[in-house]
């Protein structure tokens, strides 16, 4: 069994153990799943043993291919390239952190909570490994159910509304993608759902736009791209901390990943035609998300809307489709996972202490929790992309790389950079600085060792990735360059075909 299968199956085995291990106490369950996810993180680091390989070629590594339904052209086909490599590691990193972060806040139905998290982890890793469309779809949809339960059972106030909304939105988006898979299966004549196989065919340009739109809808909802973002604030605000961390940290990345892995390579001509629209919506998302964050009274909602803004950058970078902008977008996906994951964790810590997330309830926390506020400030700086932090590299690459694509949109997006500083710093000011006005805040405990353990890796990474970005980018660049070249080639062939004058019959050869 290959490494990727182990990564996918191990959490499921763990979930099964929890399911049948009726005698385990709540603490034992928590320890078991934390240990298991840490082991998984360790196993996923084994992918890095081939880092130099990822840096030199764009081919898939750790490939596994088993027949599943051969008559239908469906196989269990897994593989990783530089694009998915880091996203897999991000998933395995954030899962134990999310578990540790909600160590004390999950008191009821601990067993179910951990089972859902483990199933979710398996499906997330699966999405990033799958090289067969059917398999991809299976993992893609399989993620919905555990997340639905996490929000619906363990969430806050309007959790049921949020859970159902999340589920229906995401499923509606992916449903049409399924039909597009089927049409693709029919049209290419490959009679296969294997991604590398399908990429050899070029789809009829007239049909491409329909199929691309079906894919794009699924991924745009997941990103979420303006105007498909309305499920996100609800889901985030009502989700438990672990749910928010995984949702923001990993699941939102699947939208961008889907564009790069499936939608653009399969339908390059349509993607080329739609690029400006996507970039435009991305830029709108940047500014819109930032403006809405500015007026949020609720900390978690603020972070949620800031995600809309950050992921707008990702979409802008992908749509601009230059090597630099796409590498920036991929890097930004990782950065967002780390900084927003950390922000959600810290908001969760505040909520645990005060059972409120309203900014107006806080103030002057720096006097009470100096360590907490120091870390919080670092995380916030990472989120607003201050040079030296990881966010800066991502946003900078995106903006520079997109400039030739559309200077106007880049200038508009730069407004988002400024606004993000405004809403984050204003929030920090209201929450952390000044005098303690609310007596309830006067005796809050500072970070405990468990909380340190969840935050330190993230803070370290956001600095490390800000300084040593060259450690990550070469491996990302390889597949990105290949995707861009392949797509450009297909577009060029198509344009050569349509610009070629139709010669009247019998005139061939007479130039």
């Amino acid at each position: 069994m290959g490494l990727l299968s182990i990564l996918i199956l191990l959490p499921l085995v763990g979930a099964f153990v929890l399911l049948v291990g009726r005698g385990m106490s709540d603490t034992a369950i928590k320890r078991f799943s934390l240990g298991l996810t840490l082991v998984l993180f360790g196993v996923s680091l084994a992918l890095l043993t081939q880092l130099s390989g990822f840096e030199t070629s764009a081919e898939y590594r750790f490939v596994e291919k088993l027949n599943w339904l051969p008559e239908w052209g469906i196989s269990y086909h897994l593989g990783v390239d530089g694009l998915s490599l880091w996203l897999i590691i991000l998933s395995t990193l954030l899962t134990p952190i999310a578990l540790l972060g909600s160590w004390t806040s999950t008191e009821k139905r601990v067993r179910e909570f951990n089972i859902f998290i483990l199933i979710l982890e398996s499906a997330m890793i699966g999405v990033f490994c799958a090289l067969d469309l059917f398999l991809f779809y299976v993992f893609w949809e399989a993620m919905l159910i555990p997340m639905y339960f996490l929000i619906g059972i363990f969430g806050h106030g309007r959790r049921i509304y949020a859970a159902v909304k999340f589920f229906l939105y995401t499923m509606a988006g992916s449903a049409l993608m399924l039909v597009a898979f089927l049409v693709l299966y029919r049209e290419t004549g490959a009679r296969s759902f294997d991604l590398p196989e399908l990429l050899k065919y070029s789809v009829d340009p007239g049909l491409q736009m329909w199929l691309f739109l079906a894919f794009a809808l699924a991924f745009a909802i997941k990103v979420p791209m303006f105007p498909f973002h309305t499920w996100l604030p609800d889901a985030h605000v009502e989700a438990p901390t672990a749910g928010s961390v995984i949702l923001a940290g990993v699941m939102l990345k699947m939208g961008g990943y889907g564009f790069l892995r499936l939608a653009i390579p399969l339908f390059p001509i349509a993607a080329d035609q739609a690029a400006w629209g996507i970039a435009f919506l991305g830029a709108i998302g940047i500014v819109y998300g930032a403006l809405v964050s500015l007026v949020q009274p609720d900390l978690k909602k603020l972070v949620a809307y800031s995600s809309v803004s950050h992921l707008g950058f990702v979409m802008l970078g992908i749509a601009a489709f230059s090597p630099m902008s796409v590498v920036g977008a991929s890097y930004q996906m990782l950065n967002h996972g780390i900084s927003t994951g950390a922000l959600f964790l810290m908001v969760g810590m505040l909520y645990e202490r005060r059972h409120t997330r309203l900014i107006s309830e806080f103030g002057g926390l720096r006097n009470v929790m100096p360590r907490f506020s120091a870390v919080f400030l670092l995380v916030c700086l990472s989120s607003i992309a201050v040079p030296g932090f990881n966010g800066f590299i991502g946003e900078f690459l995106i903006l520079i790389g997109s400039f030739t694509f559309s200077p106007g949109l880049v200038i508009l997006s730069t407004l988002g950079v400024i606004l993000s500083a405004a809403y984050i710093l204003w929030m920090v000011q209201r929450v952390m600085y000044g005098e303690v006005t609310n007596p309830k805040n006067s005796a809050l405990p500072d970070l405990n060792p468990r909380e340190w353990a969840t935050l330190l890796p993230l803070v370290f990474l956001s600095l490390f990735m800000g300084v040593f970005s060259s450690w990550f980018t070469p491996s990302i660049e390889r597949p990105v360059v290949k995707i861009i070249q392949d797509a450009r080639n297909k577009v060029a062939i198509h344009q050569a075909q349509i610009s070629m004058p139709r010669l009247p019959a019998g005139t061939e050869g007479r130039q």
Partner: protein, 478 residues
């Protein structure tokens, strides 16, 4: 002339056991348990005959056995055995003569088995009537309230209508071809033959009534709600397999060449059925009515498989294969879902409203988890047999050139997620009402449900074996 009885041996066996149950009740006053055991033995015997001594022959060209009929018959028998267990568990506290009940059930099975083998229109019609008449009577049992009578009468009247349509269709097809044997009928059924087209249309209408496709579905909610739950479960699962089994054969053998003319119409019916079924289910607060509308919706998905047969060559067999897979797995899943209603006793009674399942996961986590798996499959979300089945049905429709139908299908699946998941919400995310007590029905009900849930999940993960059986079955008709 030596008649080969082997093709009808399963039906003969079940008939004999049916008579045996009747006599044992009449003369020996057999108990419920004894009647159940005799019935199960009969069904098992038929199952063993089909599996161990498969017949490839035919009885005078009217009854044709083979891989196709074997697949359909095995599915029917498995469903019937499970339904008998469910019925035995439910009937404990009802006033019913057990031998009458099980005799009718077995005779319904005889009709269903006949539908699977019918290679000739008249035998097909006779088999359909054997099944239907037994079911009309079953719907009225036990005679505890007016709603059972209402269900029976409604089912009977609409059933009579559908039979008339079907017979008329057969007559017209006979007029077009000069034969009632399906294989010979095919020669008369050619493009442009108006008689054949009208005959096919009437034939379809008859079957659309039986499977509860819109706009011929009006009886479904009332009958499903009115009949006692094991009967509903048996009806919902068995009739679907048998009717689609017969329809699949007719389309494959007799009227397939005319598919260019009827398939667009059936595609419209399929889309309409999905919409009506799913939107209807949205508004239901009664569990059985909800499952009834969901059955209507699923009839629509299955019709997509029939539409998919508007293709050429191997794709036509592939569409039939998808249909067979879907029908078989749907039947098992649906039976499990009704089984849950029988397994759970809320304050001693069967839960009838969706709100009655509130907080079930806290009181009975195992049953709640099993129902969740079944509902996930009905919605068509991986990993479940329902997802694999739907995927292949819609693929057949797309390959045949109906991507619009597939799009309606998947969007309606999203709608269905809302009402199926509402049950999950109630079970997992709401607290149980004060003063309600959940107990589990005695007997094997829980095991039947567990088996159905395990099959639903397992076939979602490893659909290969069943799929290849379905493939062999479908291929045997071409």
């Amino acid at each position: 002339m030596i008649v080969d009885f082997q093709p009808v041996l399963p039906s003969i066996l079940v008939s004999l056991f049916a008579i045996g149950v009747l006599l044992s009740g009449a003369f020996a006053n057999a108990s419920l348990l004894l009647c159940r055991n005799i019935s199960v033995t009969g069904l098992m015997a038929a199952l063993v005959v089909i599996v161990t001594a498969p017949s490839d022959g035919n009885t005078g060209g009217t009854i044709m056995a083979g891989a196709y009929s074997a697949f359909v018959q095995v599915s029917i028998l498995v469903v019937a055995i499970l339904a008998v267990w469910l019925a035995a568990a439910r009937l404990d506290d009802d006033q019913v003569q057990p031998h009458e009940f099980f005799t009718l059930m077995l005779f319904a099975v005889v009709g269903m088995l006949g539908l699977a083998t019918a290679a000739e229109a008249i035998s097909l019609f006779v088999a359909l009537e054997i099944m239907s008449v037994a079911l009309y009577a079953l719907c009225a049992m036990p005679r505890t309230g007016p709603e059972r009578q209402e269900a029976a009468i409604k089912y009977f009247i609409t059933g009579a209508f559908s039979s008339a349509f079907l017979l008329f269709g057969i007559a017209l097809l006979y007029g077009a071809s000069g034969s009632t044997t399906l294989a010979i009928m095919a020669r008369g059924v050619t493009e442009g033959n108006v008689l054949a087209l009208m005959g096919s249309a009437f034939f379809f209408v008859g079957f659309l009534f039986k499977v509860g496709a819109a706009p011929f579905h009006m009886w479904t909610p009332d009958v499903y709600q009115g009949a006692t739950t094991p009967v509903t479960a048996f009806m919902a699962a068995g009739v679907k397999i048998a009717a689609f089994g017969a329809l699949g054969r007719v389309v494959a053998v007799a009227i397939g060449d005319l598919s260019g003319s009827w398939a667009p119409g059936i595609a419209l019916v399929a889309a309409f059925t999905m919409v009506v079924g799913n939107l209807g289910a949205l508004a239901q607060s009664d569990l059985k009515r909800l499952l009834a509308y969901s059955a209507v919706a699923h009839a629509g998905y299955m019709l997509a498989g029939i539409v998919g047969m508007d293709a050429t060559g191997v794709d036509r067999a592939r569409a039939l294969e998808s249909l067979l897979f879907y029908v078989a797995t749907y039947a098992v899943t649906n039976l499990g879902a009704f089984g849950i209603l029988i397994a759970i006793r809320r304050n001693g009674a069967e839960p009838s409203r969706t709100s009655h399942l509130k907080g079930l996961s806290a009181r009975n986590p195992v049953l709640a988890a099993m129902l969740t798996i079944l509902l996930i499959s009905l919605t068509g979300i991986p990993i479940s047999a329902g997802f694999v089945g739907k995927f292949h049905l819609f693929k057949a429709a797309v390959v045949a050139g109906y991507p619009g139908l597939a799009a309606v299908g998947v969007l309606m699946s999203v709608v269905s997620a809302y009402y199926y998941l509402r049950i999950v919400v109630l079970m997992y995310m709401e607290d149980p009402e004060e003063g309600t007590e959940y107990t589990t029905a005695p007997g094997l009900v829980t095991k039947v449900v567990a088996l159905s849930a395990a099959l639903t999940f397992g076939l979602g993960l490893f659909p290969g074996p069943l799929m290849s059986l379905a493939r062999a079955a479908a291929a045997s008709l071409f």
